[in-house]
């Protein structure tokens, strides 16, 4: 026990005296959260809109002003022909094109069901789908209003089932809410693997590991002496991250914070283990970095942070069964946004725990004091 305590104390002293690492530990969560959230914002705002109004009636004007009034669209082009409108779209000057046909007002008045065409630049499909649906909603709303106002209730509006979308757990489809928990997860992953992968290799390079190998320190003591300090660092970063999320972005954590810390602790156990594994097979820090990057990129891209994991191909989902980050992104979103309990996330937790036990067992085995 005393040995483990001595190992842990030594590790902490070394961390605190390493000015660069110290700054990284504090700055990384804060800077990443701010940059990632603000810069990678996928919120739909200020979509560039082009309009071709072949009707030029008061009705069509009303439609256009309604579209403009929403915060989603900015009217950037008013073309005189469909051809010109499409060209604007192709040039990228507009992202969405609304075409109001020739005898629009007259047809509405005559109950002829005129069509408004919505053409969307789908290079960014997420934006495209949302833009089209906003536009569709606005137009649909307008149609209902118009029918009511024109007939003053006299013409019976056919009964329709109005589909109202309500986004559960993220009512405003706030991109930040979507990203924040996931970004927190990524942060912890990056720092965790980075610190642990480089640490043992550094000791190898400096020769201090050989000195330890010759002492009575056991492999288990050695690993615990490394795991513990880095877990503390990881939890500290979680705290920093949560503070930024809560105070800067007003994130409301629905679930239990204690559960959150518990989850992250188990996660750190497995992710640090992966880092140590990398460092036991690397000869120098550069090698360790490259292997680490390789794993991190795969873990993060497949994790479901940026794109939905469920819509990935089968082989990717297969990889995800052993991807701890995938489970963590899921858990953090569930706990933070939905308020899930331990029971709800038991499957994911078990997965992370098993990964952690396996990896660390391999590390202890393969970290040989003897070649």
């Amino acid at each position: 026990m005393r040995t483990i305590r001595a190992l842990i104390q030594k590790e902490f002293k070394q961390i605190f005296r390493n000015k660069i690492i110290l700054r990284l530990i504090i700055m990384l969560p804060v800077v990443q959260l701010i940059i990632l959230i603000y810069a990678a914002n996928n919120d739909i705002k200020n979509i560039s809109m082009g309009v071709v109004d072949l009707d030029r009636s008061s009705t069509s004007q009303k439609i256009i002003s309604k579209l403009q009034a929403s915060s989603y669209f900015i009217l950037n082009d008013f073309s005189t022909s469909k051809k010109q409108g499409i060209r604007m779209l192709e040039k990228g000057k507009t992202d969405i094109l609304i075409e109001i046909p020739h005898s629009f007002e007259k047809d509405i008045y005559n109950n002829e069901h005129p069509r408004v065409a919505i053409t969307v630049n789908a290079i960014n499909s997420t934006v495209a789908i949302l833009a089209a649906s906003y536009a569709g909603n606005i137009l649909g709303g307008f149609a209902a209003e118009y029918a009511f106002s024109v007939t003053q209730g006299k013409i019976e509006v056919p009964k329709q089932i109005n589909v109202t979308n309500s986004n559960w757990f993220n009512p405003l489809l706030d991109y930040k809410s979507l990203m924040l928990p996931g970004v927190l997860a990524i942060l912890i992953t990056i720092m965790g693997i980075l610190l642990s992968a480089l640490n043992i290799v550094r000791e190898k390079e400096m020769g201090t590991i050989e000195q330890l190998n010759v002492t009575p320190v056991t492999k288990l003591q050695f690993i615990i002496g490394k795991l513990f300090p880095f877990m503390v660092v990881g939890l500290f970063q979680l705290t920093l991250g949560l503070c930024v999320a809560v105070f800067l972005y007003n994130l409301e954590i629905q679930g239990s914070i204690v559960l959150l810390y518990g989850v992250v602790t188990v996660y750190l156990f497995s992710v640090l283990g992966i880092g140590f594994l990398i460092s036991t097979i690397s000869d120098n820090q550069v090698q360790a970095m490259f292997v680490m990057l390789f794993f991190m990129i795969i873990f993060i891209l497949l994790s479901g942070l940026f794109t939905s994991a469920d819509s990935m191909p089968v082989w990717a989902q297969g990889i995800n069964t052993i991807n701890p980050t995938y489970y963590l992104v899921d858990i953090i979103r569930l706990v933070v946004l939905k308020g899930s309990t331990l029971f709800d996330i038991r499957k994911q937790m078990t997965a992370i725990l098993i990964i952690g036990l396996v990896v660390n067992a391999v590390v202890i085995q393969s970290y040989k004091k003897v070649v």
Binding site: L7, Q14, M206, T215
Partner: protein
């Protein structure tokens, strides 16, 4: 005198390359034994086997009475080791290093305090006790590293090329530490390629291409090869070696 280190046909192969080829020798308690050889001759490999850092391929060896195959952990408790890179923690202070290694070897807090004082006084480092090791000159790091290897009063201490490039006075001060240690009964096993240091040892062995080509006191070896310095002895032995390629 009981043998501190005993080997019999100790061998280590890396694939098809035989680094250490059937070496047999013994070292007595309290001896200063010099394990000499050119770089690549196999002496570091041999030493690492004796420290429990490397699995031998075949043969027998015992260190401090413990078998290198089956009792490695016992060996580690009873030996001290100073590696080529002096492996101190550069970002910890002298006191913190002493504390750390003392704890690892299971010394009680009182014992550690005692040892710390002794060490600081002996090495004249009282004022620098709370300075980072990184700030010390090379010679002091060397002496500190050596002292830390002895903190748990081991029976044998292994020194791997301990005196790199320091000035002659500092080197001698270091060797005086070694003398003192041997005088008090600790066996000192040192590898070096500074042949003049070979002269400080009670007995030396010279390894060439994985084999021990000579083992005796420096004086006897010089007589045998009709040489005036150990450097010459080595030169005569090593001239035909294949490690010269």
């Amino acid at each position: 005198m009981e043998a501190s280190i005993k080997t019999e046909n100790l061998t280590k192969c890396f694939g098809s390359f035989t680094a250490v080829n059937n070496i047999t020798f013994k070292v007595d308690k309290g001896e200063i034994f010099g394990f000499l050889g050119a770089n690549g001759a196999g002496k570091t490999t041999a030493m690492r086997m004796l420290c429990g850092l490397l699995h031998p391929t075949s043969g027998k060896a015992s260190v401090a009475g413990f078998d290198v195959f089956t009792q490695r952990e016992q060996i580690k408790k009873n030996i001290g080791y100073m590696s080529q890179k002096f492996s101190l923690y550069e970002d910890l202070t002298i006191k913190e290093n002493i504390n750390f290694f003392g704890t690892i070897y299971g010394l009680s807090n009182t014992k550690i305090k005692e040892k710390t004082e002794q060490l600081l006084i002996r090495l004249n480092l009282m004022e620098e006790a709370n300075s980072l090791v990184a700030s010390l000159p090379l010679g002091w790091k060397q002496k500190l590293s050596f002292s830390l290897a002895l903190i748990h009063d081991p029976k044998i201490v292994f020194l791997d090329e301990p005196t790199g490039g320091v000035d002659p006075i500092t080197r001698r001060q270091f060797w005086e530490l070694i003398y003192e240690t041997a005088d008090s009964g600790t066996t000192v096993f040192v590898t070096t390629h500074y042949m003049d240091e070979a002269e400080y040892c009670n007995r030396v062995s010279i390894m060439v291409d994985g084999k021990i080509e000579a083992i005796d006191t420096p004086d006897n070896l010089k007589k045998l090869f009709d040489a005036s310095t150990m450097d010459e002895v080595f030169y005569l032995l090593a001239r035909g070696a294949s490690t010269q390629e």
